[in-house]
Amino acid sequence: MAEPSKGLLRAQEIYQDRSRRALELQKQGKKVVGYLCIYPVLEMMTALDIVPYRIFGDMREPITKADSYIPAVNCPFLRSCLDLGLKEKYSFLDGIVTTHICDVGSSLSGIWNYTVRTPFSFHIDTPHTLHETSLEQERGLLEDYQKALEDLTGQKMTKERLQEAVRVHNEQRALVRELYELKKQDPPLISGVETIRVIKAIQSIPVDEGNKLLREVIDEVKERNDGPQKKSARLLVWGSILDDTALPEMIEGLDANVVMDDTCVGSRAYFGDVELTNDPLDGLSHHYLVDIKCPRTFRTRDYTDVRKDYMTDLAVRFSYLRDYVRDWKADGVIMESVRYCDTHGYDVPGVRDYLDSVGIPSIYLEHDYTEGALAPLRTRVQGFLEIIE
């Protein structure tokens, strides 16, 4: 029997055939639960030995069925997810967990239940603000979520099991950060394209297997001499979901390396640990609501302090991007968003104003979540590179 592949090759195999491992585990009796976005608390699935399996769209597959349920003037990523569900690409799932990502994302959970009919479903109505009451609400929602998962598995989610799950997921976060450290070198030891493959792979397999894969990738990448070439520009990509390598492939096909990102198939879910609190739900609710910096959460608590000063407000919300740019020595930022993503779209002027204020060049690209539509953006990216040269 051939030796199972490791490291980057294994990540690429999972990227290309995501459900294979989940289906194997399901045959062994494990439950596989799909989730949308990075907000469904994965530690709680892991604690009950559920395989969390992130639901993605497919920008290479035309949307043909979902338009009957979600009009075409809505997020094409979420429409694509539903389309794949309607085409039975997710029919193997034992359950699905959704959160109130945005209005379309929230509506999708109901539509999914009516149309795709995955046996188990749970919707976490994650608040969008950071008030004390929001934290209480999030914590209460997680208690309901816990009960739902216990009913699904027939097992008790003890404090010890949950604490252990938090520990293993924190280990994953640390490993991802270790991998990103290797992108600080010039040229980076791992490309933007390879990074997406790795992150998408670990979001398709159980956390302990993901940690093993990350360790292999880190060891391999540290020793490699076939890594990315040195290019004129080092870029940070900020924005909405990038679950396909097409966009970084286009960017890295030009004279630039993607050395850092702030997207949810990238660093966003992994920068910052969950605090190991006595009651794990306290640390978890705080992490998922407060620590993850996604535009879907309005950081109003910060805003209340500085509401009279736009630039200070921007600095509070986006200074972490300046730190990324400094630490990863990026020459500029590409802001990207799928069309009709209001969540990211509304933050674009603020991010741009902030980056302008600290002298970091940026460009905004909006795309249709189709591979072919990326080609015209090539001129914009190349023009941007010519400006920052």
């Binding site: 539509a373 015209p376 001129t379 914009r380 190349q382 023009g383 010519e386 400006i387």
Partner: protein, 285 residues
Amino acid sequence: MVRIYFAGIDLGSTMTKIVIINDDEQILAYVVHHTGAEHRHLANRVMEEGLAEASLSIDDISFVMATGYGRINVPFADRQITELSCHARGVASFFPNVRLAIDIGGQDAKGLKIRDGKLLDFVMSDKCAAGTGRFLEVIAAALGIEVEDLGGISLRSKQKVSVSSTCTVFAQQEVVNHLSAGVPLEDVVAGLHDAMASRTARMVQRLKVEPDVVFTGGVAKNAGVVKALEENLRCPVLVPEEPLLSGALGAALLGKEHVLKALARGETIQTGERRLDRATFFEKE
């Protein structure tokens, strides 16, 4: 004295342009052709014509810079650079004080923020044909008139009508409605130009409109759109004598700068064997 020559080729979606300059930046030849359905296959023919006009051979050219949509498929180009940088450079050579350049071509519109001849920022229209040369072509065809005549017709307008949409399909419908209601043709055409100019003005607003504002591209040949743009931007709009050439000229000038920089670093320019082959966009070699 040995002269050095540079060529810039701009393969646009609608027009293919070439400019040949010498080291004094004098234009020795320029050629403008419809790109047509055969698209990028014309590049070598346009180059041959340009060389003939300048009485040069391809081996006399030190550096060929390609730009435009088809830039990556020119077999005899030494380097490619975007039309954004090339337009900025070309426009600045005509108008050194330019701060905002607007280029409306066959299938897109661009706004370029320029300071001291350098491109600082840009905006581009989306993949829709609204507000581009194609929009005017479709409307002219629907009206049964030549696109070149639209400008003159609109200047006769006494009271332009409002055309609410710049969607090529819906605007066509609106035009028919206006004409059947008895609105004079010139007022309808002036309304169309205004709709187009207002869309462009909104697009470039982010770059801050400051004089000199320069307008290039095929649509800049339409005096009606120039006038409408001046009204919408509330400032004079300058148009070069040949508004189609800024991209190709900019490419040639940037080619020259590239060569001079390389020579200053003590490098030799390796241009390789140059063949005037057909572009290879459709047939992969």
